[in-house]
């Protein structure tokens, strides 16, 4: 299946883009997507400090992904 990664904050800078399509096996989880993203050396060290969301829901690493999901990569926040 295909999902779309949405990079936020510094991760967009590191990824060189705000979006990236990812191809995953049918039963893939958030953790599988992270594992695939880790092959990008620029992102690898930042990913463990990130949170993840699908749409407007924060999701845990064991969350199962579905075709067409938008998975947000949320680096440490600095609002206020």
């Amino acid at each position: 299946m295909n999902i779309e990664i949405q990079f936020w904050g510094v991760t967009a800078r590191l990824a060189g883009s705000e979006r990236r399509r990812l191809s995953l096996t049918e039963s893939a989880t958030v953790a599988d997507a992270i594992e695939l993203l880790r092959s990008d050396a620029a992102l690898a060290t930042e990913l463990p400090r990130c949170a993840y969301a699908v749409g407007a829901d924060l999701v845990a690493p064991n969350h199962s992904l579905s075709e067409g999901d938008e998975l947000s990569v949320l680096p440490p926040v600095s609002g206020g």
Binding site: W8, V10, C50, D57, L58, V59, P76, S78, G79, G80
Partner: protein, 164 residues
């Protein structure tokens, strides 16, 4: 006190206004009003700052800030708590965040306000990019949402505008 919850956007690209938050939260049973405003400083960790750009995952922010407002009201027994955050480019002195709490008495208003602001800063998906006088920039190192992250049920279940 009001007929129905007033809808408002917690993430705004326009300059923030305090007055609508005060009007929307007026209550004759509340003697204490505590307000926090976060403004853009001209310095950060010793370096001069010329301006900032805030970006936010608006839909998730709205949900998380609504949850923070609700937690604040419930944990501190305060009837009113509202938080708004600005996004886009902000100059020195511009307001990035307003948090407003109303309570019968001041002790809980102070405690609730502190909780509301701290929680928003730690949990809302908002990112600050600082720009320096030489034109360079960097993202401010912030708080890991993921630290010990276990998404609480109410964060998933809250309706987007759960601010009654």
């Amino acid at each position: 006190m009001r007929a129905e919850p007033i809808d408002y956007s917690r993430i705004q690209p326009e300059p923030l206004a305090l007055e609508p938050l005060l009007l929307a939260t007026e209550r004759p049973d509340c003697g204490a009003l505590a307000i926090f405003a976060g403004a853009v400083r001209n310095h950060h960790e010793g370096a001069a700052v010329s301006h900032l750009i805030y970006t936010a995952h608006a839909a998730l922010c709205d949900k998380i800030i609504a949850a923070v407002e609700q937690e604040t009201r419930e944990q501190f027994q305060v009837p009113e708590c509202r938080i708004v955050h600005r996004v886009g480019q902000l100059g020195i002195g511009d307001i990035a965040i307003y948090a407003v709490v109303r309570a019968p008495h001041r002790a809980e208003a102070f405690a609730a306000l502190r909780y509301a602001v701290d929680s928003t800063k730690h949990r809302a998906p908002i990112w600050k990019e600082e720009f320096y006088p030489d034109g360079s920039s960097s993202f401010v190192t912030g708080c890991c949402i993921a630290d010990g992250f276990e998404p609480p049920e109410h964060l998933k279940q809250l309706p987007l505008k759960a601010n009654t």
